[in-house]
Structure formats: structure tokens, C-alpha cells
Amino acid sequence: MSTEQSQRSQRNRVDGGLIDRSDTRTFEFNNKLLTGFAGDTLASALLANGQRLVGRSFKYHRPRGIVSAGVEEANALVELRSGNLTEPNTRATVTELFDGLVAKSQNHKGPLAFDVMAVNDALAPFLSAGFYYKTFMWPKAFWEKLYEPVIRAAAGLGSLSGEEDPDVYDKGFIHCDVLVVGGGPAGLWSALMAGRAGARVVLADEDFQLGGRLNAETHTLNDQSGASWAQQLIAELESLPNVRVMPRTTVYGAFDHGVYGALERKTDHLRLSEGKPRQVLWRVYTKRTVLASGATERSIAFGNNDRPGVMLAGAVRTYLNRFAVTPGQHVAVFTNNNDGWQTAKDLVNKNINVTAVIDSRDTDAPFELNGVQACMGAQVASTSGRLGLKRITLTSGKSFEADCLAVSGGWSPNVHLTCHQRGRPVWNDTIAAFVPGADLPSGMLVAGAANGELSLSDALRSAQRVVNEVLNDLGLSAPAEALPTTSDSTVDITAFWHVKESKGRAWVDWQNDVTTKDVAQAHLEGFHAVEHLKRYTTLGMATDQGKTANVLGLAIMAEYSGKSIPETGTTIFRPPYTPVPIAAFAGRSRGKNFRPTRLTPSHDWATELGAQFVEVGPWLRAQWFPRAGESHWRESVDREVLQTRASVGICDVTTLGKIDIQGADAGVFLDRVYANTFSSLAVGKVRYGLMLREDGIAMDDGTTARLGEHHYVMTTTTANAVSVFRHMEFCRQCLWPNLDVHLISATDQWAQYAVAGPNSRSLLQKIVDDIDLSNEAFAFMACAEITVCGGTPARLFRISFSGELAYEIAVPTRYGDSMIRELMQAGEEFDVVPYGTEALGVMRIEKGHAAGNELIGTTTAANIGLGRMVSKKKDSIGNVLSEREGLNSESDNRLVGFIPVDKSRELQAGSHFVQTGHAVVTENDQGWMSSVCYSPTLGHSIGIGYLQRGQDRMGEVLDAVSPLTDSSVAVEVVSPHFVDPEGERLRG
């Protein structure tokens, strides 16, 4: 589109403004190509192009237009972008225009101008507040099958793409002395004074152009325009190294201890984010906060006050002065204060036809405007125009042509953040609005319009006062700087809320289609309380959270109740101030970033071998190592088991928790945390240990080696490494602080490999330096600090989880990769095989070792056949409560083994045991199968599990039933030690 065409299409452009006319931006609205300029919002560009109708209302599908110029926008919600970038319910008023922007209107079936759902408007008498609650009660069965699906299908604004959001989001942390919320006159002044005083300042504003109302008004400061004065301050702020200026950043919540949430829109104003975070959610830690969040204008309720073209008067000034757009060519003003007159004045100064100023106050006009009819003590009764305003009619019957009606019902300070710690605003009659109460979040001070100081000079004075207090609190000296001289005006309001003589429905909350009639109905039905009013009528809900509607609705309720507004009450606000995307809360924690993985030092080596990995907590462990020709995981696992039992296998067991325990009282400490005794363990020996919880239930197990007189190293299960360490630290620091014992995790310090099988000794003998590994010299359960491969420090433990002759060798992690490669090379002559967690699991079931499947939080030492390990010669955690009668019955479950009677049948973990022929009911349940596997050693399926009096039932045949899979297998009760029950191999 040529520049000429572009300018022709923007028929509502006027002179001036803060837009960059040299930077034309092309965008689409409902597939129509339009243009605007850099510095425009989508809303200002639409208005410039004469697009008044931008959407349909939520409930009645009424035609709606832009009403505001900020975050309070209730109507102009659009679907932005397309495809997987689609974002519904975006406020056009705060959407920065970029080249290539694509927007669509929402909530209509058919074209925007001919929405078939507008039939709802004709049904309005039946759809008032509480309609759903009263209507859809019968017949009862219809709710789920008919009413709810139909209502759900009709409800909701906009639509999601259903595709994954391709943008990235991030989070971050900012620390400062002073957080200034809002970049209007009060905010800029506060930030500058604090910055000049040397405080670390963060100035955040939701707009892309800092300056607030200075950019929207025609005020002067020291004979400079407001916008120019703002630019001067911003330039100085940006030059200060201790000040961080953050445009496009909404401080959305005030949390405990001076923590604030802020959403920075980093690339929302660009067509594509190019891999950079689209939005960043900041956690701001501050010592003091200056809330300078300004105020929001509200409307007056009168008949048909929702037609496109009816706008807030302050917004009209914003479009006119900042964006160089007139929202109409024939503008009328309806006001209850002087601010509406300022709108008329600004329009006249831009040569826009102002047809009338209708002022509800029965006083003299504040000033005369040439060619403008002033109607004092008058009210607007109704409007007309199907898809946009054409005419307004007063209660007197007089009417005026108008394609835009600027309405000002007064300004409500943006007190939202003052309420986030349960602060309650208080009513101020002078400005007819709520102002911040005394109970502010700790460290927060409020300045400017947010504090109810609505004139420019008052706002600056309050900013000066507040920043001086802040600097004094921080021990800094306030710079001596005189406030600028301002051109000023007062709001001078006489509260007026709604036109009782309205013809047609008078809208209170545009976004939720709440009318004065709905408020009246809520009152009639007893929903007087503000919170009830909100929930019954939906007043103040959805994206705008009633920023323009709450006070209006409350005031109307107060009128119906015959009470004052303070007596009627107010809702307080919770975070967020404006909507925050869920994606921003997630930040980069998506996909693999959601849960980081831990890798062992042999990970790359295992990857090279094509290992299949499994998540074990945060660890990735090799599950099995497939070889060419193996088409099923069982083939790989069976091979690994058989080869290990026949010769030698190696498994990475680095993930087991390792806790280094030192101190003169280390042995005593272990005696207290373990059920069995460790103080008597000889140096150079390892012992299996069982740890109980306070209630006597098994908590974890593992081995602990004594490396020196006062030095032990404990291993825990992989899953419980952290919880066991935490438990032991609690014991050390809180239960027995007088013991001389010190703990530190050494899990990541050591790479550890199990070397198992009859040839494990021969293999290791090639690796270790000058140590005799014969059974006589290094017996089962021996340990030593040694060196390997010519001097690398190592630890060697002769322990076995597989039931074979086995060792675990540990080297510092940096040597882990090299170690596994050396072990494999050294084992070539023995046909060594690496094995993964599946083979590990198979071998431990064949050996009958309890593991995570067996230690399930209800397991006692007796259940797993280790009751005698709970030493009664000493006290230990869980010792006393393990003696409870209920935990020591002869009929308790015992860990036993199971084999299928028909060896071709597969067992299923989780199966329950019932006596053969008995009904499969809870009363007949005698235990369950906790672990099963196919035993390549035995050639059939095996299992271990818990069975009532299991120790006395060897040889008995039961049914192992699985109601989940509707299967039943006859099993024989056997010893859980399927392989080498006498332990000859591991001691050999």
C-alpha cells in the first residue's frame, strides 16, 4: 500500500501525536488490509481507519467498539496472530502495532456485522442475572446431557489453536532498593529523585511509551509539553547506571516480604520472537515500592451506553493527543466532572466538531467553548445506531447527532496492588472514589493519582513527599530539586452514577453484559453483599476484572440499598492486576527443561553401545544393551543375565546414594540410625544395613563400609538417596547435636561399577594395583581404599546384589568414563558383558533381594525376613515401635518366592494370592506378588511377594489372580532364593 493510500485509509487521523508517520505499518483486521504508524496501538490504528465495530459482547452478542485506551478495555478483545501463534482475548488497546499484525474479532457466528448469535439480544428478558441458576434445574438429568454441553459450546471468548505454543518464555530475578510502579508523572519524578540519590531503582510501566497521562494530555510543565518533559526525564533515567527502566512491564502482584511479580513483554511487539523469550516473568525483590499506577476512568450507566462510539472521555483525549486520531467527526460529551470538559476543549482545539457537552451537574459550565452547546444538569437517556452510534437523546427529549460520545463518570485510583496483602481501600467523597487504605503491603508508599491526587501538580507533590520518605528510610539524601511549574486543572466531580430515566438497558459492566437491571435484581433477591453481587451477576469478572465497572456497580447497589458506598463495601483485589499467560509462569520449564536429568560418567560410553535408557528418579540409567540381531528386550536381558552368571558382567551403579560419614562418634551415630550395629564393624569391612522409620517400618537399606576408625561410607538406594541424607542430617543436627559426626554426599564424587560373575575376580585382578583379591585376602564383605591402573585412587567393595562372586569398584568421577572402557577391555578375554537395570533386577529377584517394590512404606523388617537384624542390644530409630504387637504377629506377611505350576505361564506383578478354588474377594486375599521376572537361569517365570505365614507354607499351591487383567495362575510357594540359596557363589 502506498503512502498516499495509507493516509487516505486513515481518515480519522489528525495532526500531532507521538506516532512516527515515517514508519507505516500494515496490518489485517478481519482479513481487511489496513495501515497505521509506529507508535500506534491496534486500537488507535483501527480508530484511525474508521473501524468502530470491533467485537460482539459476551452474552447478548451486542455490537461493541473500543471504549478505553488502556488495560481496562472491556470490549475490544481480539484474536491476535494465527496458527499456533494465535492468542485470543488480546486487548487491542494495549497491543502495539507491528508490521504484519493479524487480528480477528471474536464471539460471532457469521460476519462481525451480521452475527446470527445476536438473536440472544432479543431473548435478553429471559437471560438476566441468575438465569442459569434458576432455569436449568429441571429435569435434573438434562443438566449433564443437554444444558451444560449447549451452554459450554456457546460460552467463552476467542479460541485457542490447539497446537503447541512455539514461543519461548522465561523467568528471572531483579533486586533493587526502590521499585517504582508506573511511568506517569508521579512515577517518573519518584524514579528520577531516587535515582539521583543513588538508590538502585527499577521503573516499570505497562505501556511501551513511558509518560502515562503526560502523553495523553495537553498539560505543560515548565512551559514544556507533558510528553516532552517526560522524554527528558526518561532520557536522564536511562543514563543513570543505577536505574533500570522497564517499559512493556506490568507489575501484576505484590507478594510477601517486598517481592513483586512483573511481566515483561519482550517481543510481543514484534511479528516473530526469533527464538528470544516472548515474555519474561520477573520476581522483583525490593526494599521500598512507590506505587504510581495512576487512575482509571469509569463510565456512567445510561440507556444503550454500549454502542460502538461510546467511549471514556479520557480515552478520547488519549487517542486525540497521543495517537493523533479522532474517534469521531461529531463528538458529544457526557460528564459529571470537569475532566469531560477538557475532552471537549482538546477536540475543539483540533477542529473536531463537538455537538454538545451534557453535564449532570446543575451548575455553571466550567468554561465556554465556541460553537459547543453546554447542557448543564442534563443526562443522556439513550443512544441509537445499529452498529455504531449515530444519535444521542437526553432525558429532556432533546437529541444530538454524534458518532462518538465521550463519557466521564470520574476516576478511580488504581489501588489494586495496595490490596494484595489484604489491604482495604477507603472511600474518598471529594473524588468519589476509593483510595488506598492504611494497611499497605510492607514497604509500599503510594503517589499521584493512585493515591487519589488527581491533578498534575498534586501528583507531583505527592511523588516528592513519598520519594523523600523512601530515601530517608534507605538512609539516602533526597536531591534538592524544585518541582516543575504545571498547567493544571481539577476534576471537580459531583458523583453521578446512572440515569434512572434511561430508555433501554443501561450497561454497568460491558465485558460481562451486566446492566443496572441485573444489579437491581441482585438487590431484590437479597444478594446485597458486594461479593454476592459479583458472583450473582458476574460483575467485575474476566479479563478486565471490572476496572471500569466495579465502583459503578457498587454505587448503584448502594443506591438501591439506601446505604452509602462505604457501608455497602468494596471488593478487594488479588493478583494478577492484568492477565498473565500460564506460559509465562512456566517460563522455560517445558519439555526436557521441566525436569533436568542426572547422568552417570559412563553415559556416553553406554550411548555409544546403543543402550536403552530408563528414568530412575532424575537419573538416566542404561536399561539394557541391545546387540545386532536381538529384536526383543528380553533377548538382550536374558543374554546379559546368562553371560554374567556364566562369566562376568559389569553394571554402572553410580546412581546409588553415597554418604560420607566422619567423626569420632560416627559409629555411635550409625548404630542409632540403623536397626543393626555398625560400631562393631571392623575397619576394612562392609555390612548390610536396614534403616527404620520412627514408626518401625523399613525406610531404606544398603551397605555401609568402614574405611577407617572414624570414617564410614554408606550406600543408599538410588531413589532414597536424598531422603536418607536429609533424614540423617535431621538426626545429626536436631536429635543428637552433641555427637561428633559429619555428613557429606559423595554420590557425584565416585563413579561406581558392579563387576559380577565367576570371572569378576580375574578381571579385576588385571585392573587393581598390587592387591591380592583372593578369597583369603579379600573375603566377602571386605573393602579397601586402593589404586587402579597404575595409581588412580579407588575404593573396592566385595559385595553382591546379583548373588554371584562380585565386587563394586569406585573411582573419582572424572575417571568414570575411562574406567568402564578399561574394565570392558580387560574383560574381553572373559567375554565380559555390560548389563543394565533390567538384568540387575532379574538377578536380584533370582537371588531374593528386597528392593523398592518390596519396601513400600508398610514393610517391617520381619516381613522381609530380617526381623532378627533389629538389634535389641542398643537403641535405634524405629526400634521400640517395631515391637508393636500388630507388627509382630505370626500370621504376618513374609517375603517368599513363587513359581508357576505350569512353567509356561507368566506371572504378573501385583497379582493377589487366594487359596485355590476360593472366591476372588478381599476377604480371601492372602498377599500379593511384588516383583516378577522371567528367569533365564531357570527357564521360566518367577516371582517374590508377600504371603500370610509365608515361611510356613513352602510347597503350597495358590492362585495368583489379577482382577485387572482377569487372569489367574496357579503358583507354588518356594524359597525367595532361587539361585544359590546357600550363598556359595558370592562367598567363593
Binding site: 519461548v168 527443561n593 537419573w619 559429619h742 557425584d748 585392573i767 588412580t792 572424572r814 577391555q825
Partner: protein
């Protein structure tokens, strides 16, 4: 006995990166020892540290740095500190000295160490590190144990750069987090 000696391999393979005004380098030349003692023994431990390494037992959150900056003691908890020094300084004599003053545990392989520097380092770190790293607040004599994107880390300042220590097993994830932060820098 096999003839091959084992080759050490740094947790991040000796990683180095320069991008967008940021330098990141894995430090492969440092050793870390944990020292622990009881409160009642601190005075004598302090003497031992002073005489053997020229450092003292720091308060939690503080560092003690030797005059030539070659040894740094990180105050991580009331009864436990980390001694960080150059690999070339580790001798049997030094190990004996450490072992003699307190309960000593080798921790060098538990931690991967990254050094990050450059004018944009703050932009990278503020994405993930909750600590206030402003030079006026977090000086060379400070240390913090914290969590960055759910990963445990220790951070301290070394002249104009920051040293980040993170558990070896999750170091690749930690590095990914740093790399992603660098990509996000404006």
C-alpha cells in the same frame, strides 16, 4: 595388570564459549575439599587453616581468600566449609594438613565448575539465579548456595567473573540452562 592409565575427563569436557559479550569456561584445574568440625573445635581449626593455607574459617555466606588469591574457603554451613584451590597446589603435605585440621572429604569430582564473565554476564545470571549479584551487595567475599532452575549450585565472585559450582551428574543440564540464558540475551 593392564598397562593403560585412566584418563581424567572433565564433567563438561573442558567447555568454553564466547558469545554475545559473555565468556563461559569450565574450570578443570580446581580441587575442592570439604572440611567439617564441631563448634568447639573451630578455634584450633582456624589456627590450622591460617598456618597451612593462610585462610580462616569464614562465616556462612562469606569467603576467606588467601593473600595471593590461590586458596578460597567457602562458608557454606555452620560446621562445614569448602576449600577451593588449584590442582597444582594439592600435595600429600597439603592433604595431610587439611586432614589434620578437620574432617576432610574430597569433593572435587562432585562438582563441575563454570566461570562466567563478560559485560552481559548479569543478564545471563539474572534469568536463573535468585541471588542479588550487584557488586555492592555480592562482593568477592561472598558465597551463596542456591538453586538455579531447580539445580543445586554454589556461586561466588572471582574478580570480574562469577564462579558457578554444580553437581557433576546434572552439570550438562546446568550448562544447557546457561547456554539457553545466553541465547536469550538481547
Amino acid at each position: 595388570m593392564v598397562n593403560n592409565r585412566l584418563s581424567p575427563r572433565p564433567a563438561l569436557g573442558g567447555y568454553e564459549l564466547t558469545h554475545a559479550g559473555i565468556q563461559v569456561k569450565e574450570r578443570v584445574d580446581t580441587e575442592v575439599f570439604s572440611l567439617a568440625c564441631r563448634e568447639s573445635e573451630k578455634a584450633s581449626v582456624n589456627d590450622g587453616l591460617q598456618s597451612s593455607l593462610g585462610v580462616v574459617w569464614p562465616e556462612v555466606g562469606s569467603c576467606s581468600v588467601s593473600t595471593d588469591s590461590s586458596v578460597r574457603v567457602l562458608g557454606l554451613q555452620r560446621d562445614q566449609v569448602f576449600v577451593v584451590l588449584n590442582s597444582s597446589q594439592v600435595t600429600d603435605g597439603l592433604l595431610n594438613a587439611l586432614t589434620n585440621v578437620a574432617w576432610c572429604t574430597q569433593q572435587s569430582d562432585s562438582w563441575a565448575t563454570l566461570e562466567i564473565s563478560g559485560p552481559n554476564q548479569y543478564q545471563v545470571l539474572e534469568c536463573t539465579c535468585p541471588i542479588d549479584l550487584s557488586p555492592s551487595v555480592f562482593t568477592e567475599h561472598h558465597v551463596a548456595r542456591t538453586s538455579m532452575e531447580h539445580l543445586s549450585s554454589i556461586i561466588y565472585r572471582n574478580n570480574d567473573s562469577f564462579v558457578l559450582m554444580t553437581p557433576t551428574s546434572s552439570a550438562r543440564g546446568f550448562l544447557h540452562m546457561i547456554e539457553e540464558s545466553i541465547q536469550f540475551v538481547d
